[in-house]
């Protein structure tokens, strides 16, 4: 029986991950990316999440983490994230005949074939 199967691809900490590609010094450190005008947190590395930084938290509420924990904040660079998103999109498009781009870092795959198992790593 042919079923419709969907898979969702969601990039981890996308903006923070993009920044890390081009700055090896950011690896393993608590990192947040801020919204336009550095207002609030829009992306958090795993280390920043562990410090308790919340999604969309205003930056002034996180500044006390800078000195004791070395929290790093970067202004957002949307041209970079859009380029990296396009690369991810192009690579993922090779895996499925139908792909829906849901957001800059979320993609939805449609499969119509008779699939028994899907492994997404």
């Amino acid at each position: 029986m042919s079923k419709r199967v969907f898979a969702i691809v969601d990039c981890n900490n996308f903006y923070a991950s993009c920044e890390r590609v081009f700055n090896p010094g950011l690896a393993g450190k608590p990192l947040v990316v801020l919204s336009n005008n550095d207002g609030c947190v829009v992306a958090r590395s795993q280390e920043a999440k562990a410090l308790g930084v919340k999604m969309a938290q205003p930056w002034f509420q996180c500044q006390h983490l800078v000195k004791p924990h070395g929290l790093i904040a970067l202004s957002s660079n949307y041209a970079l994230y859009a380029d990296m998103s396009r690369r991810v999109m192009a690579i993922l498009a090779g895996f499925t005949p139908e792909q829906e781009v849901y957001s800059i870092d979320e993609f939805c795959w449609h499969f119509r074939a008779n699939l028994k198992l899907i492994i997404v790593k």
């Binding site: 090896p24 010094g25 690896a27 396009r86 690369r87 192009a90 690579i91």
Partner: protein, 190 residues
């Protein structure tokens, strides 16, 4: 109750909300060209005056002449044009994994990499000894020749005034990508 002919919602009125639109201001002389471009269908040629850009504005095909250019001895009367050549499709094997980085310093001059050259770096190629690589050592990017030594991998400069980077115990080497081409500008205003 107000008359249905005045005010309120008019279902079906206005532009269909299929996708967001934007008003654009452009010089009047470009209007016919842009109108033509907007109504173009896949497979149709471009109107005169337009030049080809792909979806992402990456592709730009330029005329290609197959005759090799001899330094100092131009070959006249050779105007046979082969095809249009797009540098990206000629040089880039993995577009999704290729990045451009600018080289700084003179540690790789022996390998043809000068200060300020543009490096085309492919991250999808597995780095093997003998390749010129971009590596992260101590959180800094560096361009060097990847070599093997009895004790493991090392990064070798292509300039005798620099020494090899042999990793110490605590140092971590991350191979970021492989340099596949070097763009060296020779024009003084380039």
């Amino acid at each position: 109750m107000p008359s249905p002919s005045r005010g309120g919602r008019r279902p079906g009125a206005g532009r269909p909300a299929k996708e967001p639109t934007r008003v654009v201001r452009l010089p009047e002389r470009l209007l016919p060209l842009v109108t033509q471009l907007a109504t173009i269908k896949p497979g149709q040629g471009l109107p005169p005056g337009a030049w080809a850009l792909d979806d992402h504005g990456q592709s730009m095909a330029l005329p290609f002449f197959s005759t090799p250019v001899r330094a100092g001895f131009p070959s006249p009367a050779e105007d046979h044009q082969e095809d249009r050549l797009d540098l990206n499709s000629l040089l880039v094997r993995h577009p999704e994994a290729t990045y451009y980085l600018r080289a700084k310093g003179d540690s790789m001059t022996g390998a043809g990499i000068q200060d300020g050259d543009l490096l085309m770096v492919d991250r999808a190629i597995e780095a093997t000894p003998g390749m010129i690589v971009v590596a992260a050592v101590d959180n800094e990017f560096t361009v060097k020749l990847l070599e093997t030594t009895p004790s493991g991998l090392c990064l070798a400069p292509a300039n005798p005034s620099y020494s090899k980077i042999i990793l110490k115990d605590a140092q971590e080497l991350t191979l970021w990508g492989v340099v596949i081409n070097v763009i060296h500008t020779v024009h003084p205003h380039g």
